[in-house]
């Protein structure tokens, strides 16, 4: 094996108005031909910056402060811009996260591939075309000769990522940097793409740098792995050693925070956080009498449904059809069936995990329960009474308070122009849950305390918080309505592993404390394994399997569930 890439003492700095920020600090890295090297870390760890530094594409005003990058024994820091430009593409290629945006939608695949090949070689059009077809076949696109003439939107997500890989390969580079190449893909397709990368690395002895936050992906295909945190290398070594016998504290904590498929844990280990502790005035600021105990008591008061053996929510034969609005269809509306004859029931005080890939109708089901979507057939009973749908559900309907929802993306689910106090106060005011403004303040402060936020947070705006803190605020907003039923739509898929562990812990605690019934929607099987009592699997709008969580994960009956379970990358060896 020969050395392909050597990075020594690399430091990347960004001047900001608060002083210089070091995105990467004194990093050393080596990569051999045909090796797949994983870079893992949470957001802000500097993974992508390393990729950009090697490509020479650090966005202005960032710059490389110290260190050297050597490719095939030659330093590429001494190169001029135009020499670098030739090197990029010819020797180093890149695969991006989202295949939707990394291909030009207005050019056919042929035009994009052939142009790139001709740019970097003297081949004639004919030869370049043949090479492009060969590449597509190599990356696993069948019938490449006809498909090459199509536009990117005619390919599915996974196929498109194959085209992107073919595009990266067409200059025969020595090194390919893959920045989260499978994050935007479903599990089954992710597995295929990872296999393809592994195959290519071996066959063409191309070096891959694989940037990802997913430990499962790392375990699946990398040979060696570097663990990064805040721009500092924590640990580097062969993948199996790092994953099985991590020596660094941070790696240990990170591994412990990854949800496991094989067994259910009571709690996740909290990752050690060396975040600057909030300064004392921040913690000392308190609304008089506001404590988390007050919040728990307050949440348990008020009218509540007597718990009995009946299910909280009973979904009976629900169909949802979306109609295309077509001006000239004359009443013959074409429909797309998002949910087909789905029946489910959620027992009181239990968590139902709803699993499905993108487009399987998970979110549609959640939306029909909260009344944003109107089912075309079927019934949903809540506490024994039929729920009204869409516009038939009046604004005063009591179920609007009793059913609450936590959304997927904490960056868009909170109104950026309103203070946290107003965001959490909105349901209190609207449902008239507080007698006075003073009481409302006290409730808001107590709820914040309950979700482990400083009370002073109520004076700030959402953009002053990190993703995990925002999700806590979103949970507080849902809780404050005193719901009996909570829908969590992928509540952690936008968060880092360590933050995900904290939010899941919080949800578990709250569920146990208040006996909430939860519909927990996720595409991540390991997360569902940790959270749910019951499991249901949706595929293209059809319910394929439901059952107890333990028996499901030990032996799923439906072939689709078996496939899902087999293809989920696992952090184990």
């Amino acid at each position: 094996m020969t050395l392909l890439l050597k990075v020594t003492d690399l430091t990347v700095e960004y001047p900001t108005r608060f002083g210089t920020f070091q995105a990467v600090k004194n990093l050393d890295m080596r990569l051999e031909q045909g090796e797949i090297h994983g870079l893992v870390g949470e957001s802000g760890a500097g993974k992508s910056t390393i990729g950009q530094a090697i490509m020479g594409l650090i966005p202005s005003p960032g710059y490389i402060a110290t260190g050297d990058v050597e490719l095939n024994g030659e330093s590429i820091r001494d190169l001029s811009q135009s020499q670098y430009h030739k090197l990029r593409g010819a020797k180093i290629s890149m695969i991006f996260q989202d295949p939707q945006t990394s291909l030009n939608p207005l050019l056919t695949v042929e035009e994009q591939l052939v142009e790139t090949i001709k740019q970097h070689s003297d081949l004639s059009y004919e030869e370049a075309f043949n090479k492009a077809v060969d590449l597509l076949e190599e990356t696993g696109i069948s019938d490449a000769k006809t498909r090459i003439l199509e536009y990117p939107h005619q390919f599915s997500g996974g196929m498109r990522q194959r085209v992107v890989i073919a595009l990266a390969l067409c200059t025969e580079p020595d090194l390919i940097i893959a920045d989260e190449p499978t994050t935007a893909l479903d599990v089954a397709i992710q597995k295929q793409i990872l296999d393809l990368i592994k195959h290519l690395a071996k066959k063409r002895s191309v070096g891959f740098i694989l940037i990802t936050h997913d430990i499962g992906v790392i375990a699946e295909i990398t040979d060696r792995v570097s663990v990064l945190r805040n721009g500092v290398l924590q640990e580097v070594g062969p993948t199996w050693i790092i994953l099985q016998r991590p020596s660094h504290e941070y790696t240990k904590a990170l591994m412990a925070a990854v949800p496991r498929l094989d067994k259910k844990l009571d709690r996740f280990a909290n990752i050690l956080d060396d975040e600057v502790r909030l300064s004392t005035p921040e913690l000392l600021w308190k609304v008089e009498g506001a404590t988390s105990e007050f919040a728990s008591e307050w949440l348990l008061t008020g009218e509540r449904h007597e718990s009995d053996d009946k299910p909280v929510l009973d979904i009976q034969n629900v169909d949802v059809t979306y109609f295309k609005k077509n001006m000239f269809s004359f009443g013959k509306d074409e429909g797309f069936k998002a949910l087909d004859d789905v029946s489910l029931s959620i027992p009181a005080g239990q968590v139902l995990g709803l699993i499905g890939e993108s487009g399987s109708g998970k979110s549609t089901l959640a939306k029909s329960i909260v009344g944003l979507v109107k089912p075309s057939a079927g019934n949903i009973e809540f506490l024994g009474e039929a729920l009204k749908f869409g516009k038939n559900r009046s604004r005063k309907d009591v179920t609007r308070r009793k059913i609450q929802m936590v959304f997927q993306d904490p960056y868009s689910s909170l109104n950026n122009r309103r203070k946290v106090e107003d965001i959490i106060g909105e349901p209190i005011g609207f449902f008239g849950l507080a007698i006075s403004a003073a009481e409302q303040r006290k409730i808001i402060a107590s709820i914040l305390e309950l979700v482990e936020m400083p009370q002073r947070a109520m004076l700030k705006y959402p953009h002053q918080f990190s993703g995990g803190q925002r999700q806590r605020i979103a949970v507080a907003r849902a809780l404050v309505a005193r719901p009996e039923f909570l829908i969590c739509d992928e509540p952690t898929s936008a968060l880092d592993v360590s933050i995900q562990a904290q939010i899941l812990n919080l949800l578990k605690d709250l569920q146990a404390q208040f006996g909430l019934s939860i519909l927990f929607i996720s595409h991540n099987l390991a997360v569902v394994r940790q959270m749910a009592d019951q499991v249901a699997v949706l595929k293209n709008g059809v319910l394929v399997e439901k059952g107890e969580v333990d028996s499901f994960f030990e032996g799923p009956k439906d072939p689709y569930s078996q496939l899902l379970l087999a293809e989920t990358p696992s952090a184990d060896f």
Binding site: R17, I403, Q404, F407, D409, S412, S413, R417, E426
Partner: protein, 305 residues
């Protein structure tokens, strides 16, 4: 005190960007000088061009003070009536700015209300209102303004029309500008209404009006503010055009546009100052307002930085 200022300088994004942008500083300085000069005109102008008794026809066509035949009393000369040009410009700019601000305020409130409602409610309301906006857009702004002014002249008795002149003009100009606000507000509302925070408000059953005003509106203000600054310049120009065409303010109360119209009649007979100085004042005011608008856009849209 100094320490506090230093901290503000770093932590407040607006002040930080402003202090690092020489062009924006210059534009702000010019705009402030012009606006103050216009607002304080009755106090600081050398003479009152609206008061017939203060000027003399014998002083007419006096060139600027530094050229031959100039009179130090009239720094940049006089017009065909013998009015001091500097005072006329100050009073004229006052009129232009008042009409500009009034018409933009009218257009912004009307246009934003319609745009947000169309974007949020969608459906038939959206279709109808936006088609009307398209029709409006296909008419040149100046035609709309002329039309409204003409109707007002026809409907109102002459004296009343003169009393209400400012309002009629602002309405006429505002009506030709609201489409910009409506289209932008509608497009931004469309983007925002599908975000989860709006769904969260819908789920608990908030009233649609509250959702539009309290939840959505604050989130779409930034593009509207930018349009506001650009349209302020457009409105001042429109008023100048209307006055230039003779349907704007009356000649005894000259706005910048009236001054330019008077000046063009004499531009070839050697009295260049009557057209040049009001034109420069107008150009510099509009450029500085536009630069400030650009600065706001850069501040409010981090992707442009």
């Amino acid at each position: 005190m100094l320490e506090a200022w230093r901290r503000i300088k770093i932590e407040n994004e607006f002040i930080y960007l402003f202090l690092n942008n020489r062009v924006a500083q210059l534009a702000a300085l010019v705009a402030i000088v012009f606006i103050l000069g216009a607002l304080l005109a009755p106090l600081i102008a050398p003479s009152n061009p609206y008061d017939l008794s203060t000027f003399d026809i014998l002083d007419s066509f006096t060139p600027p003070a530094w050229s031959e035949g100039g009179n130090p009393q009239f720094i940049i000369g006089t017009d065909d009536q013998g009015r001091d040009l500097l005072s006329s410009i100050m009073y004229g700019m006052r009129l232009s700015l008042i009409i500009g601000v009034l018409s933009v305020a009218f257009a912004a409130i009307f246009g934003t209300a319609i745009g947000v409602a169309a974007g949020y409610l969608g459906g038939r309301f959206d279709t109808i209102v936006m088609r009307i906006a398209d029709v409006q857009l296909s008419l040149p702004a100046i035609l709309t303004a002329l039309l409204v002014d003409g109707i007002a002249r026809g409907l109102l008795p002459r004296e009343q029309h003169e009393d209400l002149l400012l309002v009629v003009l602002s309405l006429a100009i505002g009506l030709s500008l609201w489409v910009n606000f409506a289209r932008t507000a509608r497009a931004s509302t469309f983007v925002e209404r599908n975000k989860e925070y709006v769904q969260a408000a819908e789920i608990i059953g908030l009233h649609p009006i509250r959702i539009m005003l309290v939840v959505i509106l604050p989130n779409i203000l930034s593009p509207l503010l930018v349009i506001g600054t650009v349209d302020l310049a457009v409105a001042i120009l429109l008023e100048a055009t209307l006055s230039f065409l003779g349907v704007g303010v009356p000649p005894n109360q000259p706005s910048l546009g009236t001054l330019i119209r008077i000046g063009t009649e004499y531009i070839f007979s050697g009295e260049w100052w009557i057209v040049i100085f009001p034109s420069f004042a107008l150009i510099i005011l509009i450029i500085s307002i536009n630069i400030l608008g650009d600065f706001f856009r850069a501040y409010l849209n981090p992707r442009l930085r």
